[in-house]
């Protein structure tokens, strides 16, 4: 029983973080049908903001808020620099500009900050452990679960109840039609990037909470996770992204418990092969999104 509880906490906390990562990627993909390769660097930007503000003596929550804000700014910047100028051209062009923008940000961090890891301030509670019902677990796992629940509730409220959310969902279903009915395209796309940045900022806090330091390449793993989760769940569906995140966390945790030690190092190869298989079986992912309209 306590093993089961432990397993569930692991899956839920990992899955919560994964689901947020995937959502941030899929909200842009849903509207633009374009993959944002610079997504991982938003997480890096938030991390470095934490490092740069760490000497300021501000309370941790204020620093975290500034960091999340910077991720939002970076997200909108991605739109302006990498997406807007080439959006209407070819899919490949945008994939490459976002890849280039990601490299640009990473190397800027290398050049202006340092290739070495930098420590990020964390509140006490991230390193404490909690014991209940016979299970000992780090408090940050519970914080991750709570943060994920809050973000998911907030996000679904935004998408279902607000004008912005409804307009964004309309744009994701049929972009041309939504524009004709007066939805401002650029505003919607920028908002999608801003929300993507917000999610990346929150994920960054949770992710760095596990590691405690930030390096220029920190965004790669979250990006890969977000890729896999969205591919499994369905590239076009927001519910699918959340489902994919939790499913991936379930697979990762299960493999962690079951794979023998010398195969465990190949875990990534296993999960990625699984992704390829799922894509072959259902190229759309597990949950199909809204009927596809034309790209801008």
């Amino acid at each position: 029983m306590s093993f089961f509880l432990q397993f569930m906490i692991d899956v839920l906390s990992l899955g919560g973080a994964y689901a947020l990562m995937a959502l941030g990627l899929v909200i842009v993909y849903g509207i633009l049908r374009l993959v944002n390769f610079a997504y991982g660097e938003l997480i890096m930007v938030a991390g470095y903001t934490m490092y740069l503000t760490s000497g300021s003596g501000l309370p941790w929550l204020v620093m975290a808020a500034v960091a999340v804000l910077m991720a939002v700014v970076a997200g909108v910047a991605t739109d302006y620099i990498a997406f807007r100028p080439v959006r209407a051209k070819s899919v490949t062009a945008v994939l490459i500009t976002s890849f280039a923008f990601s490299t640009l940000l990473q190397n800027a961090a290398l050049l202006f900050i340092s290739p070495r890891p930098r420590n990020v301030p964390l509140p006490e509670i991230f390193s404490e452990t909690v014991q209940f019902a016979g299970v000992i677990t780090p408090a940050r796992n519970l914080i991750t679960i709570a943060a994920a629940v809050v973000m998911l509730v907030l996000f679904s409220w935004l998408m279902r109840r607000t004008v912005l959310g409804i307009a964004m969902r309309a744009a994701a279903t049929n972009f041309t039609m939504a524009r004709m009915l007066g939805v401002p395209a650029n505003l919607i796309i920028s908002s999608a990037f801003a929300i993507s940045g917000l999610l990346a900022g929150v994920v960054s806090m949770l992710w760095i909470g596990r590691i405690g330091a930030v390096v220029p390449g920190i965004g790669l793993e979250p990006l890969l996770i977000a890729f896999i989760a969205t591919v499994i769940g369905g590239m076009r569906s927001l519910q699918g992204a959340v489902l994919g995140g939790f499913l991936l966390a379930f697979m990762d945790t299960t493999l962690n418990f079951t794979l023998p030690q010398d195969l465990l190092k190949f875990r990534d190869a296993f999960t990625f092969s699984l992704v390829i298989l799922i894509l072959l079986w259902r190229p759309q992912g597990l949950i199909k999104g809204p009927a596809s309209g034309q790209r801008t």
Binding site: R33, I96, T103, L110, V231, D268, V275
Partner: protein
């Protein structure tokens, strides 16, 4: 037909001129740059064969370069060295020591074989799904290279490859790659594949077996990548799996995009331009670091410039410098215009 020969002649001529100039100058640094450029040409042309003709972005290319490099490493490291550089190698292949030239070819063939096995199902996918799976494939290949210690010495540097790649070999391979890329583009398969790039539905309706066409191009591209990787291995003589990951993918992709992915000419010019810029920036970086202007080492400057150049090219000329026509066709057209006028 004639315009294809003009294209081949001009592009191979460029490589030959470079070889002659480098030999005349006899500066070791230029020699190194020229070899690097020729290897980059082979790699970029391999990517062009797939990406240019099918229109699908592939991230996995550099992974196959790694397959080629490690294959040739296992086959050519001298037996007495193997105990040190690959202590856990399986006994069956530990006794093999082939000539590097044979092993380079085998490296290409193994890369092509791996590509043939893993990629067939992936070729059914288009757009974002295809890109993400190719990215996943790169990560799978990288993970395997990093952790299969018996064959790759794990994440550590593998050393002891005999140095076999000189300028003549690299330039020869580059010219063969140019000819092969043009020939493939103009072949029946290439033509059908390009039609599927321009309109997938129409090409499919006319009876083109798109998945198989892409598969053939992918295997050919992997063959190039494997040979390029193996030659690079025999040039650099020691490397680690880190050499075959995102940074190199970015450079090769940058070359192809700046030059223009749809044409062989674009791939060649992109490789030349990027290599020259890269080497000068790297020299600048080294100069700054030596002069100790800043308290810390300057790293990443070259990548930043390349990234900006890529974005600029794509914004201004989305198809790259040579978007649709090979250089032979462009010159031919200009000549005809002169006659008419």
């Amino acid at each position: 037909m004639a315009k294809n020969f003009t294209t081949i002649a001009i592009l191979s001529g460029l490589v030959l001129v470079m070889v002659i100039v480098t030999n005349l100058l006899g500066v070791r640094l230029f020699d190194r740059i020229a070899i690097n450029l020729c290897i980059a040409l082979v790699l970029v042309l391999g990517l062009q064969v797939f990406m240019g003709n099918s229109g699908i972005l592939s991230f996995a290319h550099i992974g196959f370069m790694g397959v080629g490099a490690y294959t040739t490493a296992v086959l050519t490291i001298p037996i007495q060295m193997k105990g040190m550089s690959l202590p856990d190698l399986y006994p069956i292949i530990a006794g093999i020591e082939l000539s590097p030239y044979v092993a380079i070819l085998l490296g290409g063939l193994v890369a092509a074989a791996v590509a043939a096995v893993v990629s067939y199902p992936l070729m059914r996918l288009s757009d974002a799904a295809a890109v993400i799976t190719s990215f996943a494939l790169l990560v799978v290949l990288h993970t395997v290279m990093t952790h299969w210690s018996e064959v790759t010495n794990g994440p550590r540097t593998l050393f002891g490859l005999p140095r076999a790649t000189d300028l003549n070999l690299a330039a020869g391979a580059a010219i063969v790659a140019i000819v092969a890329a043009v020939a493939f583009k103009e072949s029946r398969t290439g033509l059908l594949l390009r039609s599927s790039r321009d309109d997938e539905v129409a090409a499919g309706a006319m009876g083109a077996h798109i998945a198989r066409l892409r598969w053939q191009a992918f295997i050919l591209g992997a063959l190039f990548a494997g040979i390029g990787g193996a030659m690079w291995g025999h040039f650099i003589t020691s490397f680690s799996p880190k050499a075959f990951f995102l940074k190199e993918t970015f450079v090769i992709l940058g070359m192809l995009v700046i030059g223009g992915a749809n044409t062989v000419t674009g791939a060649v010019f992109g490789a030349i331009i990027v290599t020259v810029t890269f080497e000068s920036l790297r020299a600048l970086e080294a100069g700054i670091n030596q002069a100790n202007i800043f308290s810390e080492q300057v790293v990443g400057l070259t990548e930043i410039v390349l990234a900006l150049a890529m974005i600029a090219v794509l914004v201004l000329r989305p198809g790259g410098l040579f978007a649709t026509h090979e250089i032979g066709a462009l010159l031919g057209r200009r000549a005809r215009k002169k006659e008419d006028g």
